[in-house]
């Protein structure tokens, strides 16, 4: 299912122009990271993908649906959205009920709801914790419950808002495994992130926003190599990319394996 954004403009009620003409096509099965400084419009853009915000100008299509024509609750069948703060969504007495909430809303039969929930719980390493009250879990695991509750909806497109914020190395690795699995299943994954190393290691395409416009859009390697342009939106290239540049490598490297391979040559 493709996403087609055409000259999208958006202004908040107070008049702040958050998006100033964004055009973007996201093909089915792509892994895209959206980066940029605080206030660049990343979250505003992402919220257009499932209709939480409707364009002031331009159009957003998710498959053949224009987002203005469908309520958010319906768009939820196509676009899953994982919010930054899990505490803004968890309400059930146990993890299993919480994770089943989304697929139940989508109207699936009980067997399918159970199957989807179990799969999501396995993917987020929560299978041992299905009976626990989400609020008895540490914030780290609450984050995973929030992830699972969206993955269980089995949407072709999943959006993550700052998935690694405040997470330790072990949990960042866990989230990376979830992204990889979604990719294997052929889903489109879109993440808003400040964690540029995470972005380099898990996404194949990067869109850099600056002041409501697209600054750069392309393959991860091509975008993250452009240090001077990225600086305009307060992003630094990943550590290993900077290292590769310093070493004078011809190719831009974005992860450890590429660095070590390039050095062998």
């Amino acid at each position: 299912m493709n996403i087609e954004i055409k000259s999208l403009h958006f202004a908040y009620p107070d008049g702040t122009e958050a998006l100033k003409g964004i055009s973007l096509t996201i093909a089915s099965g792509e892994q895209i990271a959206i980066v940029g400084q605080n206030g660049a419009g990343k979250t505003t853009l992402a919220r257009h993908l499932n209709g939480l915000l409707k364009p002031s100008g331009g159009t957003v299509f998710v498959g053949d649906w224009e987002t203005t024509q469908h309520p958010v609750a319906k768009l939820a069948a196509r676009v899953g959205y994982v919010f930054q703060n899990p505490d803004e969504q968890l309400f059930s007495r146990d993890v299993l009920t919480e994770v089943s909430f989304g697929p139940r809303n989508l109207g699936y039969a009980k067997e399918k709801v159970d199957a989807l929930a179990q799969r999501a719980l396995a993917l987020t390493e929560l299978s041992e914790k299905t009976e626990v009250n989400p609020y008895d879990l540490s914030p780290t695991w609450r984050k995973m419950v929030a992830l699972a509750s969206i993955i269980a909806m089995d949407t072709p497109i999943v959006v993550f808002d700052e998935p690694t914020t405040g997470q330790d190395a072990a949990n960042v690795a866990r989230i990376a495994r979830v992204v990889a699995e979604l990719k294997r299943e052929g889903k489109t994954v879109i993440a808003i992130t400040h964690d540029i190393d995470f972005c380099a290691e898990n996404f194949e395409r990067v869109v850099a926003l600056s002041r409501g416009q697209i600054l750069l859009d392309g393959a991860t390697r091509d975008v993250l190599g452009q240090e001077a342009v990225l600086a305009q939106t307060y992003v630094e290239p990943p550590q290993l990319t900077r290292l590769g540049k310093r070493l004078g490598l011809k190719e831009t490297v974005v992860n450890q394996e590429e660095l070590l391979q390039a050095l062998k040559k």
Partner: protein, 259 residues
């Protein structure tokens, strides 16, 4: 999210420069006078001879008239119609609505009551438009109101935008999980749990963290607090306040003597 958390409109005017307590006293005095002075046209006089001119001199006539016409008038108008129709006094019928009669007397009665309520709300609207809440609280704290009390008042005033921000975030999150909040009432009632749960839990965490945050910034410090704002006060204003108090006492006296 809204940037506008209070009614206050920043202007440079005589009214804005008055001490907050003076304006508060004035608002109270106008209300008391409008209610107790035993002359039929008192509320109308107070409105057009005092409140409206003050809004002009305060350079907030536009904002004031917007509030008066769009917010106060419809509510007071409704009250007027209801009282005119339901008040069982008088003989001379001026208007019939099914079995309900409005008489000359009930219309006059309803008009006076509506005018009084209008004065009450517009006096305080004028006060809120021309007074920054922080200045009011700083001034009252300086005069001996416990700072905990003024914190509670001010933070309660701010609860609305805060809760709004929180509630919006929660609604967005649950709608994204397919929760239908846009259609039938029944469905919306069913959506209450997923919306209220996080709001309550969030508020509990928030209360604890907020307490830590303000404590970390010396909230319960034993030292005498200061204020960012210099709040003007003068002998003249003090005299003015006491005159207003005298006016209130006089009106009440006149009311008692008259009846």
């Amino acid at each position: 999210m809204s940037d506008r958390l209070s009614f206050h409109v920043q202007r440079d005017s005589f009214l804005h420069r008055l001490n907050p307590l003076t304006k508060l006293t004035l608002a109270f005095a106008l209300v008391v006078v409008a209610f107790v002075l035993p002359f039929y046209w008192t509320p109308i006089f107070v409105l057009f001879a005092v409140i409206v001119p003050l809004s002009v001199s305060g350079k907030i006539f536009r904002e004031f008239s917007w509030a008066a016409l769009r917010l106060i008038l419809p509510a007071v108008g409704f009250l007027f119609v209801m009282q005119a129709l339901f008040q069982p006094i008088g003989e001379q019928v001026v208007f019939k609505f099914y079995f309900l009669d409005a008489t000359t007397e009930s219309v006059a009665y309803a008009f006076r009551n509506a005018a009084r309520i209008f004065v009450m709300i517009s006096a305080f609207t004028l006060f809120l438009l021309s007074t920054h809440p922080s200045e009011l609280m700083s001034d009252l704290t300086r005069r001996g109101l416990p700072s905990q009390f003024s914190y509670v008042v001010i933070s309660t005033l701010q609860i609305i935008p805060q809760m709004q921000a929180k509630a919006n975030a929660i609604i967005a999150a649950q709608r994204s999980r397919g929760l239908d909040t846009e259609s039938s009432f029944l469905k919306r009632a069913g959506a209450l749990g997923p919306l209220v749960g996080p709001l309550v839990f969030g508020s509990l965490v928030e209360v604890e963290e907020r307490a830590i945050a303000i404590e970390a910034r010396g909230f319960t410090s034993k030292r005498a607090k200061t204020s960012l704002y210099e709040i003007a006060d003068s002998k003249f204003e003090s005299v003015l306040r006491w005159s207003l108090v005298a006016l209130v006492v006089l009106s009440i006296g006149l009311n008692l003597w008259h009846s």
